[in-house]
Amino acid sequence: MSVTRFRFPYVEMPEVASQLRREVRQFLAEERANGGFVPMADCWASGMSAEFSRKLGQRGWLGMTWDKQYGGHGRTFLERYVVTEEMLAAGAPVMAHWIADRQSGPQIIKNAQPHVRDHIIPRIVAGECFCAIGMSEPNTGSDLASVATKAEKVDGGWKVNGTKLWSTGAHGGDYMITLLRTSPVDTNARHEGLSQFIIDLKSPGVNVRGIADIGGQVHFNETQFEDVFVPDDYVLGEVGGGWKMVVGELALERSGPERFLSSFIVFQEAMKVLVNNPTDKTREVLGQVVAKIKTLRRMSLGIAGLLQEGASPEMEAALVKDMSTNFERELLEKIRSVLPQHALVSLDSLTANLLREGILRVPSSTLRGGTNEVLKGMIARQLGMR
């Protein structure tokens, strides 16, 4: 029974986190009421507002778990969980800082040169510096080890050439944490010879081009590097140690509440319509989706609790991401199935607009951060089948 005993321990929020939740709710209610934001579906990957991010920075809600000596706030993972889940549930525009706050910051603190760290981290915490991820390429998707964009050693640094693709938020970002090939491919050790770099997106030779998604919106980008110079001290960690770093980074981003709450705001708005003249079918659907959200939240929060204790529940995180991202689509479809006709076709209702946005965004949920097919392969490996 050892293999299949998954751990999702009960997590009780400390009183300080509950107090924080009240503050965040009040802030969001005020912001929404005074026009600070209009709620949107998939807000962490489509709602870019540097101004909103700065407000969060001023309140101390960015870089929350990072050590105070580096400019962070030294708070717990659970407190950060509260802030992120409240932002997501409200559909707040948190895209600008999302990547930096979730994964680039921790990576920089752990692996960057001290003076580089001190240059970047306090600005991320203030909501004034944003990051993007440069992993995928035109010929590199799920097979990340096939990265071909390369960095060649030159005097005092590295010369970067190639193209990175699907970098969410690169058009509004300051830095890209970029996975590059620093030595030729060894077919027997494909994961070696890769390194991570912090690339200033304002460097000469960097060209960021927005790519419209199926809804016509620009959220992700193609970034071309043409003889871009990166100084030696902007290498992240050891040269050649990039693979291990990105694997750890991907694990970190897997089980967060953004995996099952991207469409929640659609549900929340639809409730205003659904409470009128409900049928048993409506009740059944509401019961089903709430049962799923509550269960996914229990699992996701359980993982946050384990991370707080220093554990690394990789299997659980992969399971949660697979199920959560599938649920995003299911939630929209279920809600759609019980909304009255007028709510579906009306042109000026927030509910209808959010539903459309949600449907147009949802194909990305089972692709980004590792496709569900890749995840299932990882789960099978953990179960001992591979």
Partner: protein, 363 residues
């Protein structure tokens, strides 16, 4: 589950492994009472895990009892241990002393129940009463205006004032009997403490089935993974085929989900040793969530086991048939999802999110 509960789960699993073998489970389906198994359970004190010391119990925590029930589900235990725990918990809520003999519960949907209790005798028919033919006592709960009572009946059928039993089985071949009360007189009855009534008894039944199912789902996944690594086709273990890996990964997700949902509900009940509204919501969540878990889990388990797992000889059906039956008992997902949906409507748009997060607020 906590570390302590994991230890209890392992201990109970070991006892069950030796005495709840496929042969014994099959024999039980043929009507043979596994006396050695029950005796071992009684002697180990497992029947009393939910009983306070003041009522003859061992002073264990309620979560310990849920760990035992999860292990019982994983072992496809052919005796009414879960029912004995439920009966004992209800008796203790009425302040009554509890023994160790096998008991069962007749808990009915409080809305549609046809049972009538006049203060001295009970009349009506209860369907699907687990192990009525094997149990020594039957416990039920009746609501009477502003109070509820727990009633205990002897099941020897020696006197006309005792309930009459006609044998039936559930989908798993477990003895789920019909019990007829014709002015049946309880051996004991008592007022239940506030907060426990017929609907909370039904909710407890629903939770117990979820916890058993969580155990059975884990066990079925374990069998499935093992089999996929042993069975060789096209020159390699079938576990190596990607299509099959993806099916099993989806199964694992369902196992993880139902364990998380069942644990959450068990913790909510254990916290106050009562089924309050917060616990009720967790139970409704788990019982609603159970359907997809069982549907996916049992389908993948059988698909991977192939024709072998479809035979009576193979033990897989001890788990899958129980799962298919348990998901319907004490209110199917159709019943519970509508109840939970009504609750969600009461929350409204404004209350939706705060009620979802309430479970992790400081208790």
């Amino acid at each position: 589950m906590t570390e302590t509960d994991n230890i209890i789960f392992d201990t109970a699993s070991r006892i069950f492994e030796d005495l709840s073998t496929p042969e014994i489970i099959n024999a039980a389906e043929e009507g043979e009472w596994p006396q050695a198994l029950w005796q071992a359970i009684e002697e180990s004190g497992l029947t009393l895990t939910w009983i306070p010391e003041a009522n003859g119990g061992v002073g264990a925590s309620m979560l310990d009892g849920f760990a035992v029930i999860k292990a019982a589900g994983g072992a496809a235990l052919p005796v009414p241990l879960a029912e004995t725990l439920m009966a004992g918990w209800l008796l203790a809520k009425g302040g009554l002393e509890v023994g160790t003999e096998p008991m069962t519960v007749a808990i009915l949907d409080p809305v549609t129940s046809g049972l009538s209790w006049d203060g001295t005798a009970l009349s009506g028919t209860a369907l699907s009463v687990p192990h009525a033919r094997n149990a020594k006592r039957l416990v039920t709960v009746v609501d009477m205006g502003n109070k509820s009572q727990v009633l205990e009946f002897a099941l020897s059928q020696l006197e006309s004032t005792q309930p009459a039993i006609s044998p039936h089985v559930n989908l798993a071949g477990e003895p789920w009997d019909t019990v007829t009360f014709s002015k049946a007189v309880p051996t004991r009855f008592a007022d239940l403490e506030d907060g426990t009534d017929a609907s909370s008894a039904e909710a407890l039944g629903a939770l117990v089935r979820c916890v058993q199912s969580a155990g059975a789902m884990s066990a079925a996944l374990e069998l499935t993974i093992q089999y996929s690594m042993e069975r060789v086709q096209f020159g390699r273990p079938i576990a190596k085929f990607q299509a099959l890996q993806h099916s099993v990964a989806a199964f694992a997700g369902q196992v993880a989900a139902i364990n998380a949902a069942a644990d959450s509900a068990a913790e909510a009940v254990a916290f106050g040793d009562v089924i309050d509204h917060a616990a009720w919501v967790e139970i409704a969540t788990a019982k609603t969530r159970l359907e997809e878990a069982v549907n996916t889990g049992a389908a993948v388990a059988h698909q991977v086991h192939g024709a072998m797992g479809f035979t009576y000889e193979h033990r897989l059906h001890h788990l899958t048939r129980r799962l298919w039956s348990w998901r319907d008992e004490y209110g199917s997902d159709a019943v519970w999802s509508i109840r939970l949906g009504e609750e969600v409507l009461q929350w409204g748009a404004e209350g939706l999110w705060p009620n979802i997060t309430a479970v992790s607020d400081p208790r």
